[in-house]
């Protein structure tokens, strides 16, 4: 166990800090062609004509590809998205054509010569408009074309890509029991992931038809399956390579550029093609974070206990559905936050608009619905006359309570939110709701939000681990997990070191993923890698330990039970002088008399999620994910009452991590999440004009949080082990972001005496709602 609680450096750190680490676009290949995309300048339009003849006339151009060359529909859940737009564009930035040329300059010159004639159509940028009668239907074929997709419920003839509902208790009776009520509408605009490494992909096809794709993906195995499916290639013909990934945040789990790289290579006889995507294209054309509209009605009885909730989420997934229906499901199944609400009526819609399409973003929609729900919680606490932290304690979900999808909570599956709330009170020196005056125009104020998250993976998601040995007796750990900065590979090595009772320096990890060599890992998403791959690693370790014991028992001519394994050796418990080093045994043992015993040790471990179910369509009953991680966050800020500016001082998170692994790495991961949450809450958004044209397509205009604007980050941990997880360690990597926007909204609402119902919380926004005399 001691290996677990230790602070260890990430395995890839030295390569990264010396600049030696190589990412997808760092590898040169001789004879490689370059591809660039032409994108739509319209939010919604008919493509009347595309003339590529001038583009073809440029020397060095190898291919000019348009949608009709590959009339295939793509999409991980609903196949609604063409590789390149066909007849119609549905968002500004949508790829319309692809030019492949000897070099980038030629590709661009040719790209600018492609003539596209558009006929603009009415643009929808708000789910409310998308659902109005007479609204243009963006995907008339949805609900007809793929009617048998499981767990997705598109409504034909509308812009609804999917719909989920939760029905529990007696909602009318619930309202009768309520003394206090709030009803609020919220709106969150879309934003982007902005991983430091811009997304890209490469492809080549060998003479015998083998497809090789190299990509910045969090989901190499999904790339393989999707390409196989769309283009009807046997999956075994496809190899997908993923080197280190420079940040993903969910934005690299979607399969898009790989498809473009593949068709580019197909069109030039399989030659290697590098798809170049600029930062601006990455922002505008590749999928972003969802936008959300919601209506929340909450009621509490005279003791402050929530009795009823009616919640509607309208998730704006943009032009194509990608993984968004699952996010809508996740909002339905977790959309109450970590509170027990006996009477619940919740609808969650996934709605098409002409925004850039959305994909998973750190915490899979939890950061968005949590903002809405926790703002309403603060309003209801005020109305009930109860301190907001106390109000959350009263309603915190506890063992025995049911989640919205009627899973019974246990300490193992949900952790201990009450302990988190108690701990944060001390850590943050909770001051209550009254702003403290520090200068004539300045007040200091705190805001709180709880958080919880469960994953919504496919019920049959898998992972695997393989272990081999080196001549020095050290181990190689091989998994299908992508290393994208979240320290997964190091965590898994630490779990293996603990299982083997070995120093972590003796565990080598394989960074790059090659789908031919690495065991399948569903996707490196959902904070599930530690749980899924961790379990596979434990199993592989058990496999290795058993094989070593078998060989050693033969060598020592003893029973396996008599043997102990630690510190890179196997020895007889009662006679530690009788030992064998790993290096002498893991390739099979050669006895002093020359006899060979056993065989090389090769470890394998497989893991498949168990016990999950799809949700009942009527009531939402079911088990969507293996467990919940709960926590609470507080931000403290100084607010200038006169000009509505503010400065963050502190940000706190107390979270139930199950058990501790690499404590400093956990704190940093959570701090990173808080920083991302502050950026999202205070400044980040994709601003569109009425025609659906992005107004902030560059980092000059799209603002991120910078060094010098950050508060101090403080992290507290509660440990309630999750029994089915390796060493009890809970899923914990996305979570730091979830409650921060709400905590900031709660603090600023108090400071400015307004009711924040949107993001981002800019000084201008605060000023403008104060002018309307809200709150």
């Amino acid at each position: 166990m001691s290996e677990l609680r230790r602070n260890v450096q990430r395995k890839e750190s030295w390569d990264k800090v010396t600049g030696n680490a190589k990412y997808c676009d760092d590898f040169s290949v001789s004879g490689m062609l370059t591809a660039r995309i032409l994108t739509s300048p319209h939010g919604h339009a008919i493509i009347k004509r595309i003339d590529t003849s001038s583009a073809w006339s440029i020397p060095g151009v190898k291919a000019v590809i348009t949608g009709k060359d590959f009339p295939v529909l793509c999409g991980v859940l609903l196949r609604d998205r063409p590789a390149l737009a066909i007849d119609r564009v549905r968002y500004c930035g949508e790829p319309v054509a692809l030019v492949v040329a000897l070099d980038e300059e030629t590709a661009l010159k040719a790209r600018d010569l492609i003539q596209v004639e558009y006929e603009p159509l009415p643009v929808i940028l708000d789910p409310a408009d998308a659902l109005k009668e007479g609204a243009p239907i963006l995907h008339p074929q949805v609900g007809v074309l793929f009617p048998d997709v499981k767990d997705i419920y598109p409504i034909h003839g509308t812009n609804i890509a999917s719909h989920y509902q939760i029905r529990r208790g007696e909602i009318q009776a619930g309202w009768k029991a309520c003394e206090y009520q709030v009803e609020e509408d919220y709106y969150l605009p879309p934003s982007d992931h902005l991983a430091m490494e811009v997304r890209t992909a490469r492809a080549q096809i060998s003479a015998d038809g083998k497809v090789k794709i190299t990509t910045t993906s969090q989901a190499p195995f999904s790339v393989k399956k999707q390409i196989a499916e769309y283009f009807k290639i046997p999956a075994g013909q496809i190899e997908v390579h993923v080197p280190l990934v420079g940040g993903g945040f969910g934005g690299k789990a979607s399969v898009m550029l790989e498809i473009l790289a593949y068709i580019a290579s197909r069109k030039v006889g399989g030659r290697p093609v590098r798809l170049v995507i600029t930062r601006e294209e990455d922002l505008q054309s590749a999928p972003c974070r969802l936008s959300l509209r919601s209506k929340i009605k909450l009621g509490a009885d005279c003791q402050g206990k929530i009795q009823a909730a009616e919640i509607t989420y309208w998730l704006d997934c943009g032009a194509y559905s990608d993984i968004a229906p699952n996010m809508a499901k996740s909002m339905a199944s977790n959309g109450t936050g970590p509170y027990y609400i006996p009477n619940l009526f919740c609808n969650s819609f996934c709605v098409y608009t002409n925004h850039t399409y959305a994909t998973s973003y750190r915490s899979f929609g939890h950061e968005s619905f949590t903002y809405c729900l926790e703002r309403a919680m603060d309003r209801l606490a005020d109305r009930s006359g109860i301190d907001p932290l106390e109000f959350r304690l009263i309603n915190a979900i506890r063992p025995g309570d049911l989640t919205p999808t009627q899973v019974q909570c246990t300490p193992s599956n949900t952790g201990n939110l009450v302990a988190c709330l108690q701990k944060v009170k001390d850590l943050a020196k909770w001051q209550g709701t009254a702003p403290i005056k520090i200068e004539p125009n300045k007040v200091r104020v705190q805001g709180v939000s709880c958080l919880w998250k469960s994953a919504s993976p496919p019920t049959n998601a898998v992972s695997g681990a393989m272990i081999t040995f080196n001549p020095d007796g050290s181990l190689n750990l091989n998994t299908g997990v992508v290393e994208m900065g979240s320290g997964n590979k190091t965590n898994l090595a630490q779990i293996l070191a603990a299982k083997m009772k070995l120093d972590i320096s003796q565990i080598h990890v394989v960074y790059d993923v090659d789908t031919r060599l690495n065991p399948e890992h569903w996707k490196t998403v959902a904070s599930l890698s530690g749980y899924m791959a961790g379990n596979a690693v434990c199993q592989a370790a058990d496999d290795v330990l058993e094989q070593i014991r078998t060989i050693a028992a033969q060598a020592f001519e003893c029973q396996k039970q008599e043997l102990e394994i630690a510190d890179g050796m196997v020895f007889i418990k009662n006679n530690p002088n009788c030992y064998l080093l790993f290096k002498d045994i893991v390739a099979g043992y050669k006895a002093p008399d020359g006899r060979s015993i056993g065989e090389p040790v090769l470890g394998r471990g497989g893991f498949m999620l168990k016990g999950l179910s799809i949700l009942d369509q009527e009531t939402g009953k079911g088990k969507p994910g293996p467990s919940w991680t709960v926590g609470v966050q507080i931000v403290e800020l100084e607010f200038d009452k006169r000009d509505f500016t503010y400065r963050l001082i502190e940000a706190y998170t107390v979270i139930d991590c199950g058990a501790l692994i690499n404590p400093q790495a956990i704190s940093e991961m959570i701090a990173g999440g808080m920083a991302m949450g502050i950026g999202l809450a205070s400044r980040e958004y994709l601003s569109y004009d009425f025609q659906g044209v992005l107004q902030s397509p560059t980092l000059r205009t799209y603002k991120l949080l910078h060094i010098g604007q950050e508060p101090d980050y403080r992290v507290g941990l509660v440990q309630t082990p999750q029994e089915d997880a390796p060493y009890g360690i809970r899923s914990l990597s996305e979570h730091g972001i979830i409650g921060i926007p709400a905590a900031l909204g709660n603090a600023l609402s108090r400071a400015a005496k307004v009711n924040c119902t949107q993001l981002p919380l800019t000084p201008e926004y605060l000023w403008s709602i104060s002018q309307k005399g809200q709150a």
Binding site: E280, K703, P763, S768
Partner: protein, 277 residues
Amino acid sequence: MIPIHFEYYRPQTVRQAVETYIRLLQEKKKPLYYGGGSEIISMSRAGDIHPGAVIDIKEIPECMVFEEQNERLVIGAAVTLRQIRDSRMFPLLGTVSKHIADHTNQCRITLGGNLCGNIIYREMSSPLLLSDAQVLFFGPDGVRRALFTDAFQLRMLMNPGELLMQIHISKQYLKSPYRYIKKTANEKIDYPLMSIAALYDQKSWRVAFSGLCASPFRSLKIEEILNQRHLSPLQRAEMVSELVPGQALSDYRGSSQYRLFMLKNTLADMMEEWEHV
């Protein structure tokens, strides 16, 4: 990367620069004078401009000069923001340059580039509008000298082929009391929601604005109000903000109403500070 081929020239004299420019213009190469390049590089990369040639002015002695000559401070167009700041020769100008971009870019962006570029804020113009600065152009007909306030009307007014060569500032203004406040939407480093520069001359304050409207400006009418010291700062600020509406800029950084709201506070703050000068 910049996906276009372009020619690069580095003339040694102003005359060479202008001759090169005229020739390239005749060859339809859409030439640009090149100082620090920060704007040319990013706009070319984005495909917003397609210069066929750039003429780097950083080896022209007249454009690199930065010294006091007689009773004037002479600043070449290719002097960087960082040099201006570090020299402390004209503290107001140095303060303005300190608030433009980040350190890396301050070491690249030049005075001439900031004044003549496409980005509308041109914040370096404010101190020059206030200090009776003169501007020296070099064109096909040689040197042309103009008052900065005449030459800068919403933007630099230049004849075809002319190069902004130098700015001259009379020494009497260099050490005058000054104030500068820059407000951004949310960030430490960003274009201004508005910036206000003020310079004290004998007995009254001169004031110039950037970011408030579509172009930097100085208004004598506004100065007249602001210098009415018998009125309270807030009264004066309100009078001024009533003069601006309609012209206040409205963009994704801030609506015109918000700019006017900020203007009032910022002006009031500035006038409070004047009391201490």
